[in-house]
């Protein structure tokens, strides 16, 4: 436990001792504002809710989270510090978990800093704050899932650019599977059960369910199992160092 905590602290403070933290947070907040107030046109809707704000989160995470995750392991491999880290008395999963949790906590902070949007809506109207909290939880879980994919892929390469691009592509697949453009491809010939299965694998579908205020166990299990699966693969990749 002390090992996970030590690795977590090192990784987490690493964000703030480099410009990464500040650049990431500023851009995340800036893009959120653009999407919510201009593309989402939150005022014109005349409804006191945060839907235009949360709708864009999958698309924001699609690019920003892989950018955050790409250095998690590939930087360690490039500099060689992975050799230092993995010859300390820590297990692979402790290292994987410590680093992952640090990055996830960091996205959590970025997400929390969007609170002015929530205050604005409360000031202008009377939103259902239960739904807002559910949506925040859903958004945080979804960020965790994107991050687990990014962390795992970053362990596969020393090159951060490759880690980023591949992670974006994989995340993109998980994002679009529930959208009509994908389901329409199958709707003409595949049975309904197959379409529903494909659609249920989508980040967007699962996130939308939670962000409507319905915290369904299925959606939680979906994100949790996705995170566990990718972190498990991550430990396998980090554990096999013959190519390092």
């Amino acid at each position: 436990m002390i090992q996970i905590l030590s690795i977590f602290r090192r990784e987490f403070s690493g964000y703030f001792s480099t410009p990464i933290a500040y650049v990431f947070i500023v851009i995340f907040l800036f893009l959120n504002c653009i999407f919510t107030f201009f593309l989402g046109d939150i005022y014109a809707r005349g409804q006191a809710d945060l839907e235009p704000f949360f709708t864009w989160h999958p698309w924001l995470y699609l690019f920003l989270v892989p950018a955050l995750a790409m250095r998690l392991w590939s930087e360690e491999r490039r500099v060689g510090t992975v050799e230092l880290l993995m010859t300390l008395p820590v297990t692979v999963w402790q290292a994987v978990l410590g680093k992952y949790l640090a990055a996830w906590a960091f996205t959590g902070i970025a997400l929390m800093l969007t609170f002015p949007v929530w205050i604005t809506v409360n000031y202008l109207g009377d939103p259902d704050n239960g739904v807002v909290i559910a949506a925040y939880i859903g958004s945080f879980l979804m960020a965790g899932a994107y991050l687990a994919i990014g962390a795992c892929i970053s362990a596969l390469t020393k090159n951060q650019v490759i880690a980023f691009v591949v992670a974006v592509v994989v995340c993109f697949l998980f994002t679009i599977t529930g959208l009509p453009m994908v389901t329409n491809l199958f709707s003409s010939w595949a049975p309904q059960a197959v379409i529903e299965t494909i659609s249920s694998l989508s980040f967007v579908t699962n996130f939308q369910n939670i962000s409507r205020g319905v915290i369904d166990a299925r959606n939680l299990v979906y994100f949790a199992s996705l995170i566990v699966f990718w972190l498990f693969v991550n430990t396998l990749v980090v554990g096999n160092r013959d190519g390092a």
């Binding site: 002390i2 090992q3 905590l5 030590s6 690795i7 602290r9 090192r10 403070s13 690493g14 001792s17 480099t18 500099v79 060689g80 510090t81 050799e83 230092l84 993995m86 010859t87 300390l88 008395p89 820590v90 297990t91 160092r241 013959d242």
Partner: protein, 321 residues
Amino acid sequence: MTALIEVGSVSKQFGSIRAVDSVSFTVNRGEVLGFLGPNGAGKSTTMRIITGFLTPTSGSASVCGYDLAEEGIAARARLGYLPEGSPLYGEMTALEFLRFTASVRGLSTSKVAERIKWVVGQLGLGPVLAQPIETLSKGFKRRVGLAQSVLHDPDVLILDEPTDGLDPNQKHEVRGLIRTMSAHKAIIISTHLLEEVDAVCTRAMVINHGKVIVDCTPDELASMSRYRNAVTVCASTSSGGDLRVTLEGLAGVSSVEHVPKATVSNRFIAFPKDGKSIVGEVTRHLQEKGWEIEELEVDGGRLDEVFRDLTTTGSAKKPLH
């Protein structure tokens, strides 16, 4: 003596390359084992297997009785490791970095302060503790890496080229530190510097193409040199006679070579037969001739020559093991 490091017929295959080929040895407490060998000989790979970073294709390694494959955590808790090139987290300060490794190793707060004070004193890190590691010179980076490896006072130390990039004074200090610690630890260092073997190692192991070619004391290694006990002599032969002919005539001398210097030309090196000492015989004869000896030097043996012989021809002249 107890064996703190045990390596049992370890092999490591990378694709079609056999980086380490059934290497076996043990290192006891109080021993400093020097790994010698050309680049790519398998020194670093062997070290990575002992530290648990790489899993051997076959064979096993253990540290303090803990098998790396079975009880890796217990084994790694008892060893300190300086990886090749001393990789470090550049954005951390030296102090933050040392605190990080100490906390991962579970050292208590009071112990951490005491140990950090000790390593900082030993390695002269005081002036740079608050600086980000990426701004440090190569020498300081190496010393931060060393500090991390000895911070928890481990029984086993694995140091991959510990003095690489240090200036002569720093090399001297690091070697002094290794010698000080060597009495109650088992230490393996790898090096290209043959003088380092003489300076700190109690045992030398030459590795080439993944195989151990020689495992002996540095003195035994030096004794494989044809320069062992060779005598370099420069004498004024004003009373007449030829130095070279005289040396060649001695019973113990096998051959003589001319080794002129910029200022003196009458300077020769006499190689002994079978590495036996000939300095007594040489001086006696020169004195009998009444020649004044201006320079007389007995060679202990040249490690670089032995090293070249062993690693380029691929076979030792006088293999000990």
